[in-house]
């Protein structure tokens, strides 16, 4: 447990020590802020329903950038050998890196709390959907980062990791549309895989257990696969 936290801290120090983190976050806030303003102007509704959906798409592009360096860099420079020697277990390394990326996600989302604050200044937003909306976007981001972590563990090249992540996320996000081309049970599987359709209920104010299970499954599955991937590294 202590190892996990140590790994996470190390990662976070590296992340917040570099200017990249701030540039990416600032960029994210510019885009998000712009869409927030658009939704205020166009709908005059005290809600984040419309903004959160677009944030999901923005994450699609940004999270590969966040997750790509998590493991790929270590594998390239060889520092991963040091990490993988006892007493750090593979699982602790993976969890530590993942925890760090989750905290990065929270750090990126935190400034957006400014939007509901503005909404409450000029209107009476419904609290429930705000809560469920943030839960949803957090789960979505967490799932994306888990995919990114897995991709990062498969290669030594950060760029390859990022591109791989982006490709997978794109397919998962658009899985809904792809399902139109597949018939029968395969089409149903594709439709279920769509992250967008599992996310869409949260900003409306509805929390569905199926959606939560979906995101948690993706996270658990990817983290497990990452651990296996690191183990195979030993003899690769």
């Amino acid at each position: 447990m202590a190892n996990t936290w140590a790994i996470a801290q190390r990662e976070l120090k590296a992340y917040f020590g570099s200017p990249i983190a701030y540039v990416v976050t600032a960029l994210f806030l510019v885009i998000a802020g712009f869409f927030f303003w658009l939704s205020v102007v166009n709908t005059r509704e005290a809600t984040l329903r419309y903004v959160l959906g677009t944030l999901g798409v923005v994450f699609l592009f940004l999270s590969p950038a966040l997750s790509m360096r998590l493991l790929a860099e270590e594998q390239r420079t060889g520092t991963i050998e040091l990490l993988l020697t006892n007493p750090v277990r593979d699982a602790e390394l993976v969890l530590g890196k993942y925890l760090a990326s989750l905290l990065m996600l929270l750090a990126m989302l935190a400034p957006t709390l400014y939007y509901p604050f503005l909404l409450s200044l000029y209107g009476r937003p419904d609290q429930g959907p705000l809560l469920s909306g943030y839960l949803g976007i957090f789960l979505l981001g967490a799932a994306f980062l888990a995919v990114g972590l897995l991709a990062s563990s498969l290669t030594q090249n950060q760029i390859v990791a990022a591109v791989l992540t982006f490709g997978v996320l794109l397919v998962v996000w658009l899985s809904d549309a792809i399902s139109n081309f597949a018939r029968g049970p395969v089409g149903d599987v594709f439709r279920y895989l769509s992250a967008a359709s599992h996310f869409s209920d949260f900003p409306r104010g509805v929390i569905s257990s199926t959606d939560v299970v979906y995101f948690v499954s993706v996270i658990v599955g990817c983290l497990f696969a990452t651990v296996v991937s690191l183990q195979t590294r030993r003899w690769r």
């Binding site: 976050t25 802020g33 205020v40 209107g123 104010g205 569905s208």
Partner: protein, 517 residues
């Protein structure tokens, strides 16, 4: 073995595997062994076969090497975990729980609707025809999504833009935007408003093999259902039949009793007074849980007030003049833009108008077990005009508004009369009365004006006819929370959100970078 052939071998293997994977993929998509699938599969097998044939020993060594065993083990472990997760997801989607966090319970469906959706015997398809920018499209989609999830997919929906695909609209006889058509087997039910009340009513009607009957009373100068002229009711009759009701007429003088199979009983614009026996028949009907619609104009001899005095309701003799909401400048035709909160009016978007309507007096206090709701009211600037010659407010004679022009009475039935159809008398039935102070508003020539008149009346009839089934549906107030900002504040939002906030973050980054130098 020549060197070049040697180098080509891995590619042969790769090509063979790729062909097999492509074949498998195509098969999954097409779900059958089409020609391309067969060709690819054959090519794949052939190529892999060639690869193996060139040096079988080498292939064997490769397949059983240490790396492959470890790798295979890894793949199997991951496949097992993936399988477990997939199973968990399948289970989760079967026993899904949903929590509605909205303050107004927008996404919570009533017990009755949930029951209906669970027990759907045949699949239902809903087609919605909306303009893209119409906000009710979003509301309809929200509602339909809940319906779909709760029906475990037995109810499916789609939206069609009638401008892009007019043939679909024509095929389903859809004429206006904002209409939805519910289809089950070979039956169809058209819905013009977005609310749980209307959607579930449509489902109820689809599930019911026979149509419910609606009776219009005759014998006191009421509106004629056969009269196609401007004052007639042929159009509203047609709309009722289109809404899957059977429309019949009856007379209390010959029948002495309201028909037992009446889902709703309508008295439309009586001008002559009623016989004592007729009033008694009506009193019995109401006491036994009757569903009555009364459309009574001002300044007529007909007087049914004695039926409603028990609830403190009476219909006035004099018309309401409302300069605050006049139809095309005529203050005697009152336009109703805001309705009272009730299931009948909850989905109404269009305004309606009443040409020369009487005021309905409502009780001052609430009585136990009785609910009286004003569906439509005139504005503060209105008054009840007692002078037939002039339309001017006379202090002392005329009463100031606002006045109710349409009202609903809900009470529990006082007599234990068995429900129609000979079914067992269950829990106490409810008596429901809808009173309109005017019968013109749904006459043929006024229905020609695009307004909410027809929908208001049809919703009332639907509410009465289905009321025993749909008790549990609460009307939901439209909960759009508005933002109130000046133009300057809007700019403030833009500047602080999209410029200031990111700059703060960048400044933090700069501070960190500076301290590292």
């Amino acid at each position: 073995m020549s060197a070049s052939l040697d180098r080509a071998r891995p590619f042969v293997a790769l090509a063979g595997v790729a062909a097999l994977v492509a074949a498998a993929g195509l098969f999954l998509i097409e779900q059958e062994f089409t020609l391309p699938v067969r060709v690819l599969a054959a090519a794949g097998v052939l190529l892999v076969g060639i690869y193996v044939a060139f040096d079988p020993e080498d292939v064997f060594r490769r397949l059983t090497g240490q790396r492959v065993l470890y790798g295979g083990n890894a793949v199997l472990t991951i496949a097992a975990v993936a399988g477990i997760l997939a199973l968990v997801n399948v289970l989760a989607s079967r026993v899904s729980q949903r929590w509605d966090l909205t303050a107004s319970g927008q996404f919570t469906l009533s017990e009755r609707t949930l029951q209906l959706l669970e027990r759907l015997e045949q699949p239902v398809r809903v087609v919605g025809f909306f303009e893209n920018e119409d906000p009710s499209r979003g509301r309809a989609e929200d509602l339909l999504k809940e319906y779909r999830v709760r029906s475990s997919g037995k109810l499916e929906y789609e939206f069609v833009d009638p401008e892009i695909a007019p043939s679909v609209a024509r095929q389903l006889e859809v004429r206006d935007f904002g209409t939805l058509v519910f289809l089950q087997a070979d039956r169809k039910q058209t819905v013009t408003g977005v609310s749980e009340q209307e959607f579930t009513t449509a489902l109820l009607k689809l599930a019911r093999p026979e149509r419910k009957k609606v009776y219009f009373l005759q014998g006191h100068g009421e509106r004629s259902l056969e009269e196609a002229g401007p004052d007639g009711y042929t159009e509203i009759k047609r709309l009722l039949e289109q809404d899957n009701y059977e429309v019949k007429t009856t007379s209390l003088v010959t029948e002495l009793r309201v028909p037992a199979d009446a889902a709703a009983f309508i008295i439309a614009g009586p001008t002559r007074d009623f016989l004592a026996e007729e009033k008694q028949a009506l009193r019995d009907y109401l006491a036994g849980g009757g569903k009555l619609v009364l459309l009574q104009d001002p300044r007529v001899a007909a007087n049914l007030d004695e039926l409603f005095t028990q609830w403190g309701v009476s219909v006035g003799r004099d018309p309401v003049i409302d300069p605050g909401s006049a139809f095309l400048g005529d203050p005697a035709t009152v336009v109703i833009q805001r309705y009272g909160l009730h299931r009948i009016t909850e989905s109404l978007r269009a305004a309606s108008f009443f040409p020369l309507a009487a005021a309905i007096t409502l009780p001052r206090e609430r009585a136990e077990g009785v609910q009286v709701v004003a569906l439509a009211q005139s504005t503060d600037r209105s008054w009840i005009e007692t002078d037939p010659e002039t339309a001017r407010f006379d202090e002392g004679k005329d009463t100031r508004g606002p006045a109710a022009l349409a009202a609903v009475i809900e009470a529990s039935a006082t007599a234990a009369v068995p429900p129609p159809g000979g079914a067992q008398a269950s829990a106490p039935r409810a008596t429901r009365v809808v009173i309109f102070g005017d019968s013109d508003f749904i006459a043929n020539n006024f229905l020609r004006v695009p307004a909410g008149n027809a929908d208001l009346f049809l919703n009332a009839v639907n509410w009465l006819a289905e009321s025993e089934e749909l008790l549990s549906i609460r009307p939901k107030e439209r909960d759009t929370r508005q933002l109130f900002l000046t133009a300057a504040q809007v700019n403030l939002v833009l500047v602080t959100s999209a410029i200031f906030l990111p700059l703060v973050v960048l400044a933090a980054g700069a501070a960190v970078w500076w301290s590292r130098r």
